[in-house]
């Protein structure tokens, strides 16, 4: 089984073509992901420009510290993912497994932080559909803000969860010795996916947490 993945699959002429096709396929998949999130970013943009005041008020109910910490955690996991790809290319098996493990841990930490933020919002009555009791400034459009917030961070969190699953499979296969310096395409394209997931958060964080900070004071 371990040697199976080294083999050239029958539809390809050579290893180079196989690797090329897999990487290219992943980039195209990421293009579909950009448009997948793009639909929601489009909604956000339309509503934010229509109701800037309500979005500003709502934004200040989010916990900047939690948001910043989770951003840092996620960026660090991207770094360890890059280290994992590098270890794979040099054939350092133990380092590869270790870096994948750390990446998974940080991804899980991100989810824990996000869940605590959601829990907090639920308790404050800012979770539309479940517990929404906000009555202060323009409650209708504040609710719209939180609908978009939960839809977008929820979609992102589902991607993080899928990412953890993929990385766990990769770590298991790496531990079994499936990869070497001549074959680590799965690690590389999992890395592409993981960096993409991070990148989405890099847009979500300022759009939800930072953009109205100046209104607070």
């Amino acid at each position: 089984m371990a040697n199976h993945s080294l083999a050239l699959r029958h539809q390809f002429d050579d290893v180079e073509q196989q690797k090329d096709a897999s990487t290219f396929g992943m980039w195209i998949f990421l293009a579909t992901e950009v448009l997948f999130f793009g639909g929601m970013f489009c909604c956000y943009t339309v509503y934010r420009s229509a109701y800037p005041a309500a979005f500003g008020h709502a934004s200040n109910h989010l916990d900047l510290i939690l948001g910043a910490v989770s951003t840092a955690v996620l960026i660090f996991s991207s770094f360890t993912m890059a280290c994992a790809v590098n270890s794979a290319s040099t054939g350092a098996r133990n380092a590869l497994v270790a870096f994948l493990g750390i990446t998974i841990l940080f991804a899980a930490a991100f989810l824990v932080i996000e869940m605590s933020e959601w829990r907090m919002l639920y308790k404050e009555g800012l979770m539309p559909g479940f517990n929404f009791t906000y009555k202060e400034f323009d409650p209708g459009h504040v609710q719209l803000f939180f609908c978009m917030y939960f839809a977008m961070t929820g979609l992102h969190a589902s991607h993080v969860t899928i990412g953890i699953g993929i990385l766990a499979i990769m770590a298991f296969r790496a531990w079994r010795g499936a990869f070497g310096p001549d074959y680590f395409t799965p690690i590389e394209i999992s890395g592409l996916y993981w960096h993409f997931v991070d990148l989405v958060w890099i847009f979500l964080f300022p759009l939800y947490y930072l953009i109205a900070r100046h209104l607070q004071g």
Binding site: A21, I28, H141
Partner: protein, 539 residues
């Protein structure tokens, strides 16, 4: 003698036997046939809904079914025909079968993902069927909010989830094609030696990959809003229902080109072979496919001329909609120019191609009527629109699909279809189609609104004509269904290249071996170069 060798030859159909060998196959040719079986089922299911709709409309009062049932009928007809038949029709069946054969490789780049896409499609289809059996859905295939999110009492979420899931099958097919066409062409097969079918599949795949995620996320938001009573598109909470329409049509207009571009590719192949000429202006036809894919993303606003869109936005969308007619017209003119001084033979695929060119022209020209702001305001939501898009989708895509099925049937099955019956059915389909849908242009222009189950008496004559045509059309579709199945057992054994075509798919055996080609072909000539066939015979 020939029969004996064909019978014993190893091919993708007799290489393995048993249900398991089909359900776990990674062979693009078998997956194409799996899709064929699935979409044929959905086509006839959607056809049954259309039949009941036409029967209801035979008489002015709403007497056969209730208004609510009628709403469900046209919704299910639309949902099934658009998402479960037309979108996968040509790409997932003929495309799956032909793309690797035409570019001279052993399989698609990702065979497992290809099989996965079929299972995803079936899961999506099963959701829609389950919703149908539970009691259906009545929002129309467009799922406009706030009706779909707040008022409809039918299975909106379940149907939406079905469409969401089947969308991923479409994305994966497109992704597979793009990578395969980029990376796996046979030696010497440069971009400008590719058959035009491949160009059109490439353009189609671009739309599938870039458009489908947007409808997926839009349907997801509708389902979430309905399920958790959120307010994303709900005007009561400041949400914007028109935003939903923007997102919906951003996919659903380009989706029209997912349906018709592969058809155009088939017509290019057929017109060339049955005139024995290169397609006139090859590069223009090739690039017009890409141009349609790109411009198709910029015209969605023409669905919203009366939906509170600003008049300036409407002007721009109107202009761009006219613009997309240019590459479409390039194709029609170039096919016509290819016919000029060609030695034309009138086999069944060519009859369908003639049907396509004529009907697509009518559908396309009435599209420019609808792109005209003043005229569109007059006929919005009337049968004029219904007739227009059926001319494109049924008169265009379905004619091309049937033409392609006849053209490649010998390659797919190793059997010829009965030519006489096939010609008859092509004629019946053409007549039945026009009788069904041409009267709808007139009644739409006179003011008959779409989606009504009862109507004033002065429209009855058109509805009677239309229903009569629909029954002729149904016969036209049943005849091929019967003789295709018949030919599997009793059809003449097909030669490897029955049409004397020059494409790579004809240089391998009929049906092809599991690996497509015994030796990877090397291409030294342009597409549709029929002189090369003479050289091959001499050589």
């Amino acid at each position: 003698m020939i029969t004996a060798t064909v019978e014993t030859r190893d091919n993708y159909l007799n290489h393995e036997y048993g249900v398991k060998s089909w359900l776990l196959t990674k062979d693009h040719k078998r997956i194409g046939l799996l899709y064929l079986a699935a979409i044929t089922f959905f086509f006839f299911l959607g056809g049954i809904f259309a039949t009941v709709i036409r029967l209801e409309l035979l008489t002015p009062p709403g007497d056969l079914v209730s208004a609510q049932t009628y709403n469900k009928l046209f919704t299910l007809h639309g949902v099934i025909m658009v998402f479960l038949f037309l979108i996968p029709s040509i790409p997932a069946t003929l495309g799956n079968f032909l793309v690797p054969l035409m570019i001279g490789c052993k399989d698609l780049a990702f065979p497992k993902i290809n099989l996965l896409s079929w299972y995803i499609f079936m899961a999506g289809g099963a959701c829609v069927l389950y919703a149908m059996l539970q009691g259906g859905v009545d929002t129309g295939w467009t799922f406009y909010v706030p009706f779909s999110t707040s008022y409809a009492n039918t299975y909106v979420i379940l149907t939406g989830v079905g469409i969401f899931i089947s969308g991923f099958a479409s994305i994966l097919t497109g992704l597979n094609f793009i990578v395969t066409i980029h990376r796996m062409r046979a030696p010497g097969l440069t971009w400008f030696r590719l058959p035009l079918f491949i160009w059109s599949m490439y353009a189609t795949s671009l739309i599938q990959v870039l458009g489908t995620p947007v409808i997926a996320v839009t349907i997801l938001l509708v389902a979430v809003e309905r399920g958790f009573h959120l307010g994303i598109f709900d005007p009561a909470l400041g949400g914007d229902p028109v935003l939903f329409q923007h997102l919906f049509w951003f996919y659903s207009h380009p989706a029209v080109y997912i349906m018709v571009l592969p058809g155009m590719g088939i017509i290019s192949e057929i017109v060339s072979v049955f005139t024995r000429k290169k397609v006139f202006g090859y590069r223009f036809v090739a690039f017009s496919s890409v141009a349609i894919a790109v411009l198709g993303f910029l015209v969605w606003g023409h669905h919203m001329f009366v939906a509170s869109q600003s008049v300036y936005a409407s002007l721009v969308f109107s202009f761009l909609s006219f613009f997309v007619a240019v590459p479409s017209a390039i194709k029609v003119f170039n096919w016509t120019a290819t016919l000029y001084k060609g030695s034309i033979s009138y086999d069944t695929p060519m009859l369908y191609a003639f049907g396509f060119i004529g009907l697509f022209t009518i559908g396309g020209l009435t599209g420019t009527f609808l792109a005209t702001l003043g005229f569109d305001v007059h006929v919005t939501d009337t049968y004029f629109v219904v007739a227009h898009f059926h001319y494109i989708m049924v008169g265009g895509t379905l004619m091309a699909y049937l033409g392609g099925m006849h053209y490649w049937w010998p390659k797919m099955t190793g059997r010829m279809y009965p030519e006489g019956w096939a010609k008859l059915s092509a004629l019946v389909v053409f007549l039945g189609f026009n009788l069904t849908f041409f009267p709808q242009f007139i009644m739409g222009y006179l003011g008959m609104p779409r989606r009504y189950h009862a109507y004033p008496e002065e429209f009855q004559v058109y509805h009677v004509l239309s229903t009569a045509g629909a029954s002729v059309l149904a016969v036209g579709y049943l005849i091929p269904a019967i003789y295709f199945v018949w030919s599997l057992r009793f059809g003449k054994i097909a030669p490897d290249n029955p049409w004397n075509a020059s494409g790579l798919e004809w240089q391998t055996t009929s049906p092809p071996p599991p690996e497509n080609f015994e030796i990877t072909p090397v291409v030294t000539y342009e597409a549709y170069d029929y002189s090369i066939l003479e050289e091959m015979k001499v050589g």
